[in-house]
């Protein structure tokens, strides 16, 4: 089944888009995303992929072109990072508000100034409330698999999906990745048949002025679609497992049986933390790991079930909401609040701007959490002043 290739995270995205038979790609170069669309432009030029590649003059236009293409019923794809994603902001609202199942890869890169091309999550998290689903990937295989699943879910709930991978740690790091047979992917992901689209001969208007009598319901329906997506992501992740041998969920529980202390991670910090958790368990520590894969829609029930009965939780955030806390920390805490019995939740912030987060760092964070009696909401890890 399929073939093993050694692919970077970026090229894993490209192959995911290829297997998803995307029909319109529009993109603008930005480090560290660029290789994704470079390879896709080659696929299109070589007619390996039957698609139109629209080279544009900005990310704002890249997202706009995807919106136009998707509005016409085509499967649309783009990729970006950091400043590019920020420039798209207005059109991210447009894509979601227009209920278009566009899929985009965002390579997590720190926002300027000062300039940085290295990883942190502030770019994607700043787009949290635009109505896009957000899926954070841990490995190159997960990246490829997530592109395919993203279309499957998006096209059912009519909401766009942003899949997120860490700059360089994934984007430019090669791993063995299974690239599936096209026939099998086609079976999983049928062609997109848009229920509502721009169709010559059908004089419908889309996005017209909606006053206070009608606007409200558009937003209500978006939220309902997000809520529906929670179950669908699980269902499609399971089906993916049956067909391709890799099962995906909203979160991943790693060695959590009987653990009193849980590390909550996202992105590639997860892989490092898994190594540490395995070691710590060998040393007799009652520790486990919860990987947050899907941030939007937020998997409330899953998180409550996974964390409710624990003693302490350390949320590791490679991001900061200035004037508040780490974003995953806020989210986890708010999810746990309605529970009668809930763990102490600590917020750790390491690794901004791509500073390495080592196994030792994670070990330190674990023991720091374990010894603390009082909850601390921001514990900076590795700040040198």
């Amino acid at each position: 089944m399929g073939k093993k290739m050694v692919l970077t995270g970026n090229h894993s995205v490209s192959y995911g888009a290829l297997l998803s038979r995307v029909e319109v790609i529009s993109a603008y170069p930005i480090t560290p995303q660029t290789q994704i669309v470079e390879l896709l432009s080659e696929f299109v030029a070589d007619k390996i992929l039957n698609a139109i590649f629209v080279n544009v003059e900005s990310e704002h236009s890249a997202m706009s072109a995807c919106i136009g293409a998707s509005a016409a019923g085509a499967r649309a794809f783009t990729a970006t990072s950091a400043q590019g994603l920020a420039l798209m902001h207005e059109m991210l609202h447009w894509a979601a508000g227009a209920r278009l199942p566009i899929v985009m890869a965002n390579v997590n890169r720190a926002m300027a100034p000062p300039w940085s091309v290295w990883t942190d999550q502030n770019d994607s998290l700043a787009q949290r409330d635009t109505g896009w689903m957000q899926i954070y990937c841990e490995s190159n295989q997960e990246v490829l698999d997530t592109v395919i699943q993203a279309y499957k879910v998006s096209e059912q709930v009519l909401l766009p999906t942003m899949l997120v991978l860490d700059a360089f740690v994934l984007s430019h790091t090669a791993e063995p990745v299974e690239v599936y047979d096209q026939e099998l992917v086609d079976e999983y992901l049928p062609p997109y048949e848009a229920k509502y689209r721009l169709e010559p001969g059908k004089p419908q208007a889309f996005g017209s002025l909606a006053d206070a009598r009608t606007y409200f319901e558009f937003r209500y329906k978006m939220q309902k679609a997000m809520e529906k997506a929670v179950g669908l992501i699980e269902k499609e992740g399971e089906l993916f497992g049956e067909m391709f041998g890799r099962k995906y969920g909203l979160v991943e529980e790693f060695m959590m049986d009987d653990a009193d202390y849980i590390l909550v991670t996202s992105g590639t910090i997860t892989s490092t933390a898994k190594v540490v958790v395995r070691e710590l368990q060998k040393e007799g520590e009652k520790v486990g790991l919860l990987k947050m894969r899907v941030l939007r829609p937020f998997p409330f029930e899953t998180v409550r079930k996974a964390l409710g009965d624990r003693k302490k939780v350390a949320v590791i955030d490679r991001n900061i909401s200035f004037g508040h806390h780490g974003v995953f920390y806020q989210e986890i805490k708010s999810a746990l609040y309605p529970l009668e019995k809930r763990p102490q939740v600590f917020g750790y912030i390491p690794g901004l701007g791509g500073r390495d987060v080592t196994p030792q760092d994670i070990r330190d964070m674990y023991f720091d959490m374990k010894k603390r009696e009082k909850v601390e909401e921001i514990i900076w890890k590795g700040v040198k002043l």
Binding site: E23, V24, S26, A51, I52, V54, N55, V56, E57, S58, H60, S61, S64, A65, C66, I67, G68, A69, S70, A71, A72, G73, A74, A76, E90, M91, W94, R197, L198, E199, P200, G201, K202, P203, Q204, A205, F206, G207, S208, L209, A210, D211, T214
Partner: protein
């Protein structure tokens, strides 16, 4: 008595009941454009008066699919729609972006330049009422020199000439650029039909009077549009492939003053200022005539006086 103009189809592809102001040049412009283009068309409209004119949800005053889009995206949205339609088998459907002067001359010019440089297969139309009318008459870079707007008060009226959008587009070497005017429907419709059948980026700049924004009564729309041509303020011409200039009509050359005096937005202008504007208009016209001459080797073929147009 002739009820319909020569070459202007009877077919109506805009519906009555839209919410344009009385005498709206933009509404008439769309009516004429859609007559020419027919129904194998998809239209995208950014923030502008036509966002409103086309009708509130769930209505559509156009007899074709309409996609509303963000202010600065008209050209790329049209290109994206074209790509999507092409992939879905609608290769022959025309996609028209329809934007105001603010959406074209100002906020949308980046996407427009990008699309034009790539020669995207779209028809881009700017209906120009010479200010941000939908937000209440603020100046744009299409506002003519001397005009009052709410952000260029009479104590400090607009002091820059209008941006030359035709030549900006021509510099991209797009296959077709034209000006059109609602007071000249035959020429208007002919240009839209011509544009419809060309591949690549086509750009039509429509002069679209705005009675409330220009501070004139609504029955003066057509008269002011005609006076803009006859005074050489807004000449009717085409530029093909970025270099072939053709003036379609030699204006009678009425004084610019006659055009300006219809409109309250120019009421504060002194005789001196009007003379300066007259001079600027004539110089600009002369340059245009030279470009026509460079293309055709003569200016004799420009139809003079009356209702005849060079095609």
């Amino acid at each position: 008595m002739k009820f319909f103009w020569d070459g202007v189809p009877m077919e109506e592809n805009t519906f009555p009941g839209n919410v344009a102001c009385q005498g709206c040049g933009a509404a008439l412009a769309m009516r004429l454009a859609m007559k020419a283009l027919g129904t194998n068309t998809v239209v995208t409209i950014p923030a502008c008066c036509w966002t409103i004119i086309s009708g509130e949800f769930p209505y559509n005053s156009l007899n074709v699919p309409l996609w509303h889009t963000a202010f600065e995206t008209t050209a790329i949205m049209a290109a994206g729609i074209k790509a999507g339609l092409t992939m879905k088998g609608h290769k022959d459907t025309l996609v028209m972006g329809w934007a105001g002067d603010g959406g074209t001359f100002d906020i949308g010019i980046q996407a427009l330049s990008g699309a034009a440089e790539r020669n995207e297969d779209i028809l881009y139309v700017c209906y120009d009422n010479e200010a941000y009318m939908n937000t209440g008459i603020q100046r744009s870079s299409a506002t003519p020199e001397g005009a009052w707007t709410t952000t260029t008060p009479v104590r400090h009226p607009e002091d820059k000439p209008k941006k030359n959008i035709e030549e900006i587009l021509a510099a991209h070497r797009v296959p077709y650029v034209a000006t059109a005017n609602i007071a000249y429907p035959e020429d208007f419709v002919r240009k839209f039909k011509k544009a419809r059948d060309i591949k690549g980026t086509r750009f039509i700049h429509i002069f679209a009077p705005c009675p409330p924004g220009w501070k004139m009564s609504s029955e003066l729309s057509i008269k002011s549009a005609r006076a803009a041509v006859e005074s050489k303020v807004f000449p009717l011409y085409e530029i093909e492939n970025g270099e072939k200039f053709t003036i379609n009509y030699w204006p009678k050359g009425i004084p610019v003053r006659d055009y300006l005096k219809m409109q309250g937005r120019f009421r504060h202008l002194t005789d001196e200022r009007i003379e300066e504007i007259q001079k600027f208009v004539e110089e600009t016209w002369e340059k245009l005539v030279r470009k026509h001459e460079l293309t055709h080797g003569t200016t004799e073929n420009i139809p003079r006086g009356g209702e005849i147009f060079y095609k």
